[in-house]
Symmetry: T
Subunit: 71 residues, 12 copies
């Protein structure tokens, strides 16, 4: 029977240009090893500061993927 189980992982992506790029970076890195990613929810946005200027945008997001025991 086909009811699946998913697992949720929290990732943080980082970008010097935007929160969209930060999220994209996290998703593309994760998708090389996690199967069947479909939706990611933003759980936190923040940014780092250097010399009084914004240095990096960071997006923390929850991503769910097929749970495969043993993986």
């Amino acid at each position: 029977m086909a009811d699946s189980v998913y697992r949720v992982t929290e990732l943080v992506g980082v970008s010097t240009s935007s929160w969209e790029d930060a999220a994209r970076s996290a998703i593309e890195t994760a998708s090389s090893t996690l199967r069947d990613l479909r939706v990611a929810e933003i759980v936190k946005l923040d940014l780092t500061i250097e010399d009084g200027k914004v240095a990096r945008f960071r997006a923390r997001l929850n991503v769910s993927f097929k749970y495969e025991p043993g993986a």
Copy 2:
């Protein structure tokens, strides 16, 4: 006397490029029928994934507008 009543509606805008565009899309669609929109608060940001890449950015937002009984 002029104290008004407002109603709050929750909308979800979608965009392939950014959360700002997703929000803009929701506002512009709504403003064709809702009167006197002034502020919208983001209540959730997420994104959809296809083939391991970000496909769409989605912004869920609360928008308040003049309540007109019967409308």
Copy 3:
């Protein structure tokens, strides 16, 4: 003895183009008077509407900085 005390202030930046610019504007204005800013957390995103279109993006953020008694 070197254990420091920090203070957290909440700022709101505003931009006609993006939430990233709104945040950047708040950080750069604050960094002229606050010392040792390192991280800022977004606590709220919203936007203002004029004539049925998005007018301004606003980002509210917490920024922490060295606490200097008397300052």
Copy 4:
């Protein structure tokens, strides 16, 4: 069988004198068109300021009413 479905709407009432009046204003306006209102929960209280004084009290509240498809 008679198990009903309700719908929840968020309203904002405004008053120059109190949050109770703000809530009352929202309820009385809504009750002209919504059937079977019974309880409303406050979800936010705020106020507007003009010339350094409180101008209006605003109460945001959730009100549930009988859902009638097509209405």
Copy 5:
């Protein structure tokens, strides 16, 4: 280009037997008038009591559907 706008409505379903039935009742009532329902999130579960026994299970849920201006 076809990026859509969705609207989120909050419904309360009621059932004498289970929260699953309460949710099902809300969804089936709503689907007669709302287009393209896909996911509903539970935001609150409660129950009513009569004569010291559980009388009804109630499920409050957010359901999003295609936004059609004018509808």
Copy 6:
């Protein structure tokens, strides 16, 4: 004069079969001593596990009842 005061108590019901039964068990036990129970809100659902299987469903709920000083 008839304005009453209520007290809210938090209970946890437990069942081997469902969260509905867990809630029912808490309500029926409480109703033997508490007067005028009308609504109970679920504040947490969890479950216990034994030997890799779900053993018990637990429902934590807030129940309000007439406050009688001295009781």
Copy 7:
């Protein structure tokens, strides 16, 4: 040594005129049996509706008092 233990109880006061009166009613009823009440925090405000008008204001509040084993 005299470090005390307090207990927190949740009460709901009801009033036809204001949330302040609703809170006052809960406090005065409780103070006849609970010792050493000092602060009460509002955790929820709502109201009941009859015939399309506000009927009662209700204030739910946490009140802490000296814990006396056996009481």
Copy 8:
């Protein structure tokens, strides 16, 4: 260019008669030194008790104002 930066401060007003007066007291005291106050959000309501009666109503609120570096 005119995009402004705002700062958010949290104040607590106190009154023997109502939460509205408590909020008003905080706003009027603050407006003597803070520029361009426009909206204040209530973040907490509580009350103090003396001799078994409500002594003071307290309203904690966030108020935002123009940020002026060096001020």
Copy 9:
């Protein structure tokens, strides 16, 4: 010395019949590889809709298990 470290993982179980079954499915799948599962907390309940009817119940839950470095 025997004080253990646990790790918390978030899973999503899916069922066509109930949230209890959805949770059970997640627990039984996980227990084939995770050691010493004892309690799981529900963090979100939702459901998917197809053709205007509830298709699947989904339960998201936190489960904690013995942390074994290297596993």
Copy 10:
């Protein structure tokens, strides 16, 4: 049949030395009258100040125990 009902009570412990001692004080006071205490969750930590120094640490915690009607 053995499925039990528990009741949750909120206590505040106080200590001049640490939050651990504050919690311990609440638990040991309660355990003289409440049966079968097993877990307590911290819901709030705060502290009181006298003459510019920390005077007492306070821990507010939820403790659940067997519910015995009539007790």
Copy 11:
């Protein structure tokens, strides 16, 4: 009449030994310039890590003090 206005400030204290010391450090530093501090609430606890070991405990807390316009 003398109803006061308070202001709430968020501080972060840091310590190599405990969260109690971190809080104490923040309070003692602040009390040299802020008048009439009485209670501080913990809003966040975290810690920093260096070389795989806990380096510093940090306590973020809200402290309220008499508001003096112009100060």
Copy 12:
């Protein structure tokens, strides 16, 4: 290009003496296999009770570390 991706894991440390030790235990166990740990946020504190006394302090914390696909 060097923008990294981090992963966030939730751990629970346990100690018979303090929450600081509970957190330390979780960090030191994790640091044997996770690279580049820098900050951990406390998400929950609780304690277990045996024979009416506090038996163990438990600290649940989020720790973020470099995400290495395949690890």
